[in-house]
Symmetry: C4
Subunit: 250 residues, 4 copies
């Protein structure tokens, strides 16, 4: 077996396709966004990526059937617009080498599929719960900024400070400097403490404008509300606990 | 030397063979089961697997003769039934990459030997000593469940929760999605605190029904009884120690 | 993608070129020196080195444009003197294997470019702030010592005690014993606690004599003065804090 | 550059050569023994092994000349006896994979050189200082025991308990099961707390009988005496310190 095995389900002819990548990461913001788009747009399964760069693990579904750790690409053909490719998965590569080898393999696939633009989605951890998460952008080419900022993405100087670590950054970096492909990274603000649909909604609103897609946001807003309730309850408990502590000492 | 060296002892023609894999793992349940079957059925040595994915270590036998860390396959021809192949060994691959490369190499060998079905055996750690360990199953294909559950294996929803990590899961996952092979994992409940023949007996009873083999269980039951005595003694000591503690404070 | 990708910007014909390597390391002394030479001499960009031996990371510039972690070589043609090649970068290889593979790749490139001599620059950590850092040398061939010591580099017996770890040493060692190339390592004394322009100035003065280059030292001296002010302030604060502590107890 | 580079100095025709391997390890016992034999017998340098499986490091000699981390083989031709090959070095492979790849490369070289027997030397850590260290043996073939035990090597059942980890064991294990070569491991007892010439002397006495060599033991005995003095002094200090402690409390 090769280090990375690509298992094709279809070999479609795609027209000017755009890749949207949302792998697990900070606040799982990128993955939640892409999984929501997959749930709503019901694209076709294109291929699976199985690799020794993922943990040696299978998941078990409710029927007791196993499925191996993987990444998966889906595609959606559209009339008069760019076709869409979605990348989601259980893991990013677990080692530095795995990150490079998986990202460059995905870019090779994109090259074959004649992908014209890559959007990688991720979280931008700010260490506190935020009510109205911003969406920050970074690009491979300065002339991409205008269009993307029109969709509400901001490009503040010096943010994110340390650059982008992991697949969302690497696919752009390798895309630009090795594969000659254009791309942008959209980062939704998140506390980074838990899976965060709110950061995902922020990205979703910007991204759907950029790629010209309409999706019903009801279900993801419901998820965000549930998370909010849980965190509100936790805050209250912490506050009342602190009050109790005061009483106790007071 | 290749990363994985296969050293064949025999090149038999096998009829519809079934692989039974029991490598070291949780409570060593899988390995105890397979080693017991090898002890009782006295199969022929088929091949050794030597690999840089095992620790750089030799064992020394009672004659001061070294033998390198390895995995070994045995085979047993049977009249009118599927032939049997057993896989046992000193270690699983010690790295993530090693796990993938060893599992896929074993599956390649199975493909060459025209193995029709893979059973991987393992432990299911429940964190406490259990009197009547259950055997849980997971499969590559839903239509395998009926036959296996008739042998007493159960398929509860949502168990094991986190999936299966390591060789027992990976051989099924890669078998299904890369090598197009069918398989099932049988997991015997165990505390996971020590090598546990009781979990192995539970698997043995189910497995022998599934593969239609009869083995005398006397010796493994004796081992289980010895372990039980030790753990009973430990419990008593803990209890009386706790009583002493009570006296001391009381 | 290969493990190491070389991206050429130019393919110049160089005359008897000399490599000067300053990658990140102790006190960043080597990198500061080479980056200062690049800033002042404005050499041409020769090539980028992109590799899975660097962290999977992109940096974001003030225009929100990403650039991948890399090493870069520059060249400067000179009349009547050896041409110069500079090597700088964001990282050294992060693993032992990465160190070897990157160093030997760089030496292969040097071989192709007919590099006649390699100077690797680094810091020599002495664990305290030093006013007049010395520059220590080590060489691949004993007959290189005379010329280099004339530039003020010293070759004390038994220093540095443990040898040289990382790229600055490895490029010499592999150069000498695998690639048949000559080289010297110049190590500027540094506390090793922070990026240290003072150690870099010491190297710069020796190196510019060796390779016969003149650069204005004003800007790097300014940086050194700024660092000195900061460390002076820290010392004063520590001293006055200690005095306070004395008062407190006294 | 390959992962392992072999740099030949000579290509001698050897007669029935025997390999004696002493790489760094427990108490450095094996390396001390082989280095002493090299010092006394003054064999010719045969080859260097340079590898990314060693640390990325150079050493600096008293002339400020660098030499890369390496393993080295020497050979000694003898009239009417087996020729001798010695293996010494700065390091063993630092990773599990490195251990396998280096050991199997060395065995490939041995195969080419038609080595008829391999002796690997090592320490057997017993966790306390021992006055008369025993030499324990382990072999690839039971019929090697007689000759070796005649030289004073003992083969007690069940010792060393956990087998042999690292190059000394692996070269025998791979030799036996992959390269079809015979070998024995001689392990000198040592506290394992420091470089221990006493364990080395014990091996030296057995080994020189086995390979029929005479060496003056004066210098290594002197080294052992120096170490003994240091440890005696440490013991006294500890004892008198304990007595002081008693006085203090008494």
């Amino acid at each position: 077996m090769e280090k990375i095995v690509i298992k094709y389900y279809k070999k479609p002819r795609l027209s000017n396709p755009v890749l949207i990548s949302g792998l697990p990461g900070i606040g799982n913001v990128g993955k939640i966004t892409v999984d929501y788009l997959i749930e709503k747009l019901k694209p076709e399964r294109l291929l699976d990526i199985i690799s020794e760069h993922f943990p040696p693990q299978v998941f078990i579904d409710s029927n007791s059937v196993v499925s191996i750790a993987k990444n998966t690409m889906y595609y959606k053909k559209r009339r008069g617009k760019s076709d869409l490719i979605f990348l989601t998965g259980d893991f990013q590569g677990t080692s530095q080498e795995g990150q490079y080898e998986l990202s460059s393999k995905i870019l090779e696939i994109c090259k074959e599929l004649k992908v014209s633009m890559i959007y990688t989605l991720g979280g931008y951890s700010i260490g506190r719960i935020v009510d109205n998460p911003r969406v920050l952008g970074a690009v491979t080419d300065i002339d991409l900024i205008d269009d993307i900022s029109r969709a509400g993405v901001i490009f503040p100087k010096g943010e994110p400070a340390g650059g982008i670590v992991g697949s969302a950054g690497l696919m752009l970096g390798l895309g630009k400097e090795v594969f000659n492909m254009k791309g942008a990274c959209l980062m939704g603000e998140t506390s980074g403490y838990f899976a965060d649909p709110k950061g995902a909604i922020a990205i979703l609103r910007a991204l759907t404008r950029i790629i010209d897609v309409t999706v019903d946001e009801k279900d993801i807003e419901e998820k965000a509300r549930q998370i909010e309730e849980i965190t509100e309850k936790m805050k209250e408990e912490t506050t009342s606990k602190n009050r109790d502590d005061l009483n106790y000492f007071g």
